[in-house]
Symmetry: C2
Subunit: 153 residues, 2 copies
């Protein structure tokens, strides 16, 4: 059992919280991202994680039935949600509805760290087919986001 008080350490780490790989290697495309599970306890139906994307990195482009409730905690980046790309910065809130394609990218000079609340019981993410990816890419704003252009949003 975790202690009830866990101090924050420099660099967005926490006492007694392991720094984990974001996903299994090779499971899905992603770059330069780590995961820390801050709260995962029997009595809570939700689970709170902290993800951090290093400058220029990105999370997996995916969708799923379960919802994400996100608060940016540090840095700057962009978020693709459905067909929309938005700039995000510290303390901004992002709701990721069911079955909506989403991906986070850190800006070139900035780490992007965010809290993500999910239900403990949830389905596994789905990756886009090549057809779905082509559909998303048909929008030049989304294509620029995938290509890491910094002026979108």
């Amino acid at each position: 059992m975790k202690p009830n008080f866990r101090k924050a350490s420099p660099g967005f780490r926490w006492e007694g919280v392991d720094l984990l790989a974001y996903k299994d290697e090779g499971a899905a495309p992603f770059k330069s991202i780590s995961r820390q599970t801050l709260f995962h306890v029997e009595q809570l139906a939700g689970e709170l994680r902290y993800f951090e994307i290093a400058p220029g990195g990105y999370s997996t482009l995916e969708r799923h039935e379960h919802m994400h409730a996100v608060m940016i905690l540090r840095g700057r980046g962009r978020c693709l949600l459905g067909g929309e790309v938005r700039a995000v910065a510290a303390h901004d809130l992002v709701t990721i509805p069911s079955w909506t394609w989403h991906q986070f990218r850190a800006d070139a000079g900035e780490s992007l760290g965010f809290l993500c609340l999910v239900n403990k019981e949830r389905d596994r993410p789905k990756l886009p087919s090549s057809e779905e990816l082509a559909e998303l890419r048909a929008d030049p704003v989304v294509a620029a986001f995938f290509d890491g252009a910094r002026d979108a949003g």
Copy 2:
């Protein structure tokens, strides 16, 4: 329905998020504290709130069956948990187990803001009886905390 992107505003406010009274007036003792519900949506079993205690203010001393998962977001203060008093600062984590007396106090010169994750379905808090309060006060560290002394923890 809330928009999916909600920007943070200066002063720990958010677009489309109302600043609410902490509790109904007269329901329980507290001082200088506000509440904002950041995420409360049908598809999530958890609910994420932001509380902010002005300098010298405090939350209600209470306990309940449901658990709180807390991350400090700004400022400095102290937290009473069971018989223990600890200093807390930005990004520290506090787990408040079932039926454990707890109270947060902001330091004299600092607002204390924190995220609190709870299950949407939860029981109502219980206040201490005068006997229970006397028991807690029997510990000089706890008594100093109640009296707002700043050197505890």
